[in-house]
Symmetry: C2
Subunit: 347 residues, 2 copies
């Protein structure tokens, strides 16, 4: 995977070139039309003629910041151009209306973590009109608060485990013999003694006896720990997939992007890759994933009690409103972090 100018300093543009680049990006984001020298000269308040702008543009094009769809069309930013723009973006703020919307949301939202994350995803979409991705993950460090084995019928038991972070996991256990209620109750008691305080990734000393109860206990523990790797708790919530149809024009592109969003594992990997690189935006093919070449993905990490616990993301076309979107992602991720850490329970 390639390193980007966000991490390597990269060249700086002189002030005028920077202004021009910024003007091009801004206008292109608005209009989706190649932008010409004259409109740049008019917009940006650098008192120069279109001709001057043109000559600067050739330079910018030669250096890879701009591109021409064809001769005699205006310029369009390249991924590198967007990258420069983003890297030199003075941190945006979000409107007071949205501020209010977010604050309201977080004071009202209730319920389980999952639901909060799902709702947050919808919030982000409403705020920005882009498809949003919320990844919640990594409960592995949570410890067991309580375990209970429940008899469904003689051969089926249900193992319900409550963790310190409020997560509840359930597992089906199938006993190889007909278990009595007494067996189950005893197994349940032993499991409690065994598991409380442990976390999913810690080893547990299971009884090696061969009686019914011990077998049940072993099966239950095995079942619980079997899921540890999958569990790692990665969950994805995607909001506003219909926005994809607004953001891209080719039906084929829309199909591709949607197909990608369906592969949740892929999305998680993608988001975490970007986080690992310390980026907050991946533009075009920066993430090295070809089918998303026409997309930009903004991410902002969330954490719970200081531990990384996922991220929120926004997926849009490369020509997206970076300032607003990044601000929204940042603010929401901060609120979410606080909320999940239990800091703003003011009701």
């Amino acid at each position: 995977m390639v390193r980007h100018s966000a991490t390597q300093p990269g060249e700086e543009l002189d002030s005028r070139k920077a202004t021009i680049l910024e003007a091009v990006v801004s206008e292109y984001v608005d209009t989706a039309q190649p932008v010409g020298s004259s409109s740049v000269a008019a917009t940006a308040d650098l008192d120069v003629s279109p001709a001057t702008v043109r000559s600067e543009m050739v330079t910018l094009e030669r250096e890879g910041y701009l591109a021409q769809p064809h001769t005699s069309a205006g310029r369009v930013p390249t991924d590198k151009g967007y990258r420069y723009f983003v890297d030199h973006l003075r941190a945006g703020t979000i409107g007071p209306v949205q501020q209010q919307q977010i604050r309201e949301f977080f004071t009202n939202v209730r319920g389980e973590v999952q639901e909060v994350l799902e709702q947050t995803s919808n919030l982000l979409t409403r705020l920005t009109s882009y498809t949003s991705v919320v990844v919640g993950g990594g409960h592995t460090h949570a410890t067991v608060l309580s375990v209970q084995l429940v008899n469904l019928d003689a051969r089926h038991q249900l193992l319900v485990t409550v963790f310190s972070d409020g997560t509840v996991l359930k597992h089906n256990v199938r006993s190889t013999f007909a278990a009595t209620h007494v067996d189950v109750a005893e197994a349940s008691r032993q499991l409690n003694a065994l598991l409380i305080g442990t976390s999913l990734d810690s080893r547990v000393q299971v009884p090696s006896r061969h009686d019914h109860v011990a077998t049940l206990v072993r099966e239950a523990v095995a079942e619980l720990h079997a899921q540890a790797p999958t569990f790692d708790g990665e969950q994805v919530f995607i909001g506003g997939s219909s926005k994809v149809a607004e953001s891209f024009d080719g039906v084929e592109t829309v199909r591709q992007v949607l197909a990608i969003l369906e592969q949740e594992l892929l999305v998680v990997t993608l988001v975490e890759d970007i986080l690992d690189q310390g980026l907050s935006v991946a533009i075009g093919s920066e993430h090295g994933y070809e089918p998303l070449a026409s997309c930009a993905l903004i991410v902002a990490p969330i954490s719970v009690d200081g531990e990384p616990a996922g991220a929120v993301g926004l997926l849009g076309p490369t020509r997206m409103k970076y300032r607003e979107a990044m601000a929204a992602a940042r603010v929401v991720s901060e609120h979410l972090t606080r909320h999940l850490s239990g800091e703003d329970e003011r009701d």
Copy 2:
């Protein structure tokens, strides 16, 4: 809401008209092009000339089964045309490969109901290339097997309830006073005595005393029952939303359909409306929901132990492959019903 020919007998077409209609539908579904008299005459093995077919077509058009996009184009089926086609479809079968695929799926699938439903949704999409909808619902009749109140901290408890159908519900309880572990344990015991065997919609006699434990119990019961209406257990799983982009050509249509799929409540209502009407397919505007006028929705009910428990559905363009899709929905719903009723546990 309108009644349809599926429930009211409606007129019958004479054999030749029926053959012609069927030919038109079949070819249009394949090609998406208006179909002309000559190709019908060639395809269907009714030994008549195109001219005859044409004169029949005018009748069919007058009666509302066919339409002409414009003079001098071929004919296209109307919703009514599709309806007739579907109502007179000899029940289709599905290919042996798919049979195999389904059988394999259901012997291998494991885990919680939710996951099974979600996976089933994906299966249906893979089988048919249409967007699939799986609605699971109505656990209200399930009874409580076990309850447990767990102390998160002095003011936060977690109520975990296990139902006879294997569902596990959790609720946050906030105590208005600092609860000790002893309080919580005692409350937990009382809750068990109180709730086991009841269902979510049954009334429960809560203790009226004013001590800590009684208060906790009351709060827990209130919290649990508060969710009964929302809970009713309606869950929706949607698979293959990217197929929407394949099924419809206008980007705007794609957007609309996606936007609808995002509103889960709407989807549930829609599916249940159709089921209530005793239909297995809603074509075009039959469901009375305008934005989906260009869609057809195939549904097949699922049940658990004889009780209705949701449905599987397939969403496609009105020109969809009804035979295959209906067969797939039917077969999968049957398998799912058997699976959820615990009948095919052959591992």
